[in-house]
């Protein structure tokens, strides 16, 4: 038994979960969805063990390169999904969300991502690594869920306008999107911006330097701030809110991924 075996088992469990969820979409049998949910839980448990294993083996937080951070993001996403499922009972969104998780796991296991654990470079040797990355990624996982429910909203809304039954009501999807952002926004603010600023001050001597990663975090934050203001103060709902949530998640995705590959800066680790 080692970390990569655990990772593989986790991956298989997630695929099984997605399979049952997808067949639930067609069969509409409650039990199939329950099986999918069960496999998501099983995956979460194995994934947790894999991450702990990796932490013990490498001696540092399990998110110091792209492979680790993708795997951790997948873990955070499953955690977010299970929390949301317990709170809002939204199984019909499960299959789509599982596809994202599987996408992350597939990317993590692609040969482009070096898997070996390397010792930590001096800049990353800090407990702020734990706080900054884990809280930020958990926040982004909730943004990811809001992204899914927003897209499903747009589809459901179109169907309802045609007089068809979309399965999950557009209103519920709209409300779940908001609730996800209400969870994700404080987490992202705390992990991404506040912890990021504290760590930057400790490591680089400057709490803000308009580094591309910092700037894109702020851009993401602004988009979700826009979502909240238009919704709470101006009463926007539905389509317009959904579009902003989608843009916000794409900005978060670019902050996480794009900045590393397309822009250069201080934040050159992951």
């Amino acid at each position: 038994m080692n970390e990569s075996t655990l990772f593989l088992i986790t991956f298989v469990l997630y695929i099984a979960s997605a399979f049952f969820y997808l067949s639930f979409l067609f069969s509409k049998e409650e039990n199939t969805a329950k099986t999918g949910y069960f496999f998501a839980w099983a995956g979460l448990i194995f994934h947790t063990i894999a991450l702990i294993w990796r932490t013990i083996e490498s001696g540092h937080a399990p998110f110091t390169n792209m492979y680790e951070s993708l795997s951790f993001l997948a873990w955070a996403s499953i955690l977010a999904y299970i929390i949301i499922e317990m709170k809002f009972k939204i199984r019909k969104a499960g299959p789509y969300f599982m596809l994202i998780v599987i996408g992350l796991m597939a990317l993590a296991s692609s040969p482009l991502m070096p898997k070996e654990a390397t010792p930590l470079i001096p800049a990353l040797q800090s407990y702020w690594l734990w706080l900054h990355v884990s809280v930020t990624l958990l926040g982004e996982a909730f943004f990811g869920f809001a992204f899914i429910t927003s897209i499903l909203y747009l589809v459901a809304d179109a169907k309802e306008n045609e007089g068809k039954n979309p399965g999950l009501s557009a209103e519920k999807l709209d409300s779940v999107s908001y609730r996800c952002i209400a969870i994700g926004f404080p987490l992202f603010t705390l992990g991404g911006l506040v912890f990021g600023m504290i760590w930057a001050y400790k490591a680089w001597g400057s709490w803000w330097s308009w580094d591309p990663k910092e700037t894109w975090s702020l851009i993401t934050w602004f988009v979700f701030a826009l979502y909240l203001h238009t919704r709470i103060v101006m009463g926007w709902k539905g389509r317009r809110s959904a579009y902003i949530a989608i843009i916000g998640f794409l900005a978060a995705l670019f902050t996480y991924f794009g900045v590393n590959y397309l822009l250069s800066g201080l934040h050159s680790y992951a």
Binding site: P119, Q125, A182, F222, H229
Partner: protein
Amino acid sequence: MKSLFKYFSSVKLAIVLIIIITLASVVGTVIPQQKSPEEYIARYDQWANLLQRLQFTNLYKSLWFSVLLFLLALNIIVCTLDRLSPKLKKTFRPRLAVEAKDIAVLKIREKFKKPMSLNPTRELVKKVLSSRHYRIKETQKENKIFLYARKRILGWFGADIVHLGILIIIAGGIISGIGSFRWNMTFSEGRILDVPRADFKLKLDKFETEYYPSGGVKDWKSTLTVFENEKPVLNKIIEVNHPLSYKGFVFYQSSWGWDWRNPSVDILAKKRDDSSFSRKIELKIGERVKLEGEDIEVSVLEFIPDFVIGEKGQITSRSLDPNNPAAFIEGWQAEEKIFSGWIFAKFPDFDRIHSEKETDLIFELMDFSAGQISIIQASKDPGVNFIWAGCAFLMIGLLFAFYWPSREIRVAMEGIGNKTEITAGGIAAKSKDTFTSEFKNITESIRRSK
């Protein structure tokens, strides 16, 4: 003046400003910032000039970007003030007596008769509400009793606390922008340097690089001593992520390098027509050493780690890495300079020696070594505590706004004989679903209790 106030108190302005600031921030990450004019010309050709004029190349520190941030701050201040005074009034001096007909227009409401006279009903309603942590204020008018119950009032101020936090952060940013300064201090071991604008000095006792067994750098550590009035007062080892803070200054392990101004150089002297002749001399910069068995003294005046001849013919170092090490040597014979010039470690057969006098000696740069220097960034940032205070407000405000939803319930009771007519209504700005079910539970237990 009033219309200006109104203009700045609109959320629409906030939204427009946020959109503009966001788009500008995107532009600033696409156009590389603070590069040289040549780089912009190479990249953008004829557009370079325009971009520089619009300050797109130093966007985040440009006047127009600062103005946008300032307008956003102003907008937040005016919006908050505009909303705050009615909110405070409602918090501290709420209208207590709200008639049943006004309660009946609330979205969440209930109206029913309780077969119980007015006073015991009041006690019952109060008991039910306070068991759910509501704080109650009451007034009575003849046979009518009005209850105003609420809880988690801070949640109602969550957004204001967030905005206050953002304003403090912006203020801290302005203070940092004006008052902070940072510079690099280059230390070789044992060196004492004045800290600019401070009344103390700093000494590097020791600098070391630690390696992992695999070869990667584990850490850079500088042992520092603070000197005040020539006396050591504090000693600390700093490393990346663990700076030294002293009297408002913070010292960071920023970088390191080789002390190429003070290297040790090994030079090999040979003779053109005597292949058995070979003498090694070890030299420091400026030192003059006699070549054993010869009447010649050799000295090294300069060492360059990465020798290159610049565009104007000047000799410089391309980098601080020893990619093309070169030494400038001189030869002396009885106080008369007989040759001088550059020798190269990578090109032993090539030299640029200038001879005043015939000699069959040739020299090779055999080896070199230098001590390490530690580069320490010193900084003073008077705005930083504002930033942390602002962040604290920001987070507390977000928690209140999202997870401490305020609730308000009004009850009007009218005694009709030994019955009481109860009209109850509730207001919740956030998480209305949970409040609706809470409200139902409350009215249900009022109905059922005896």
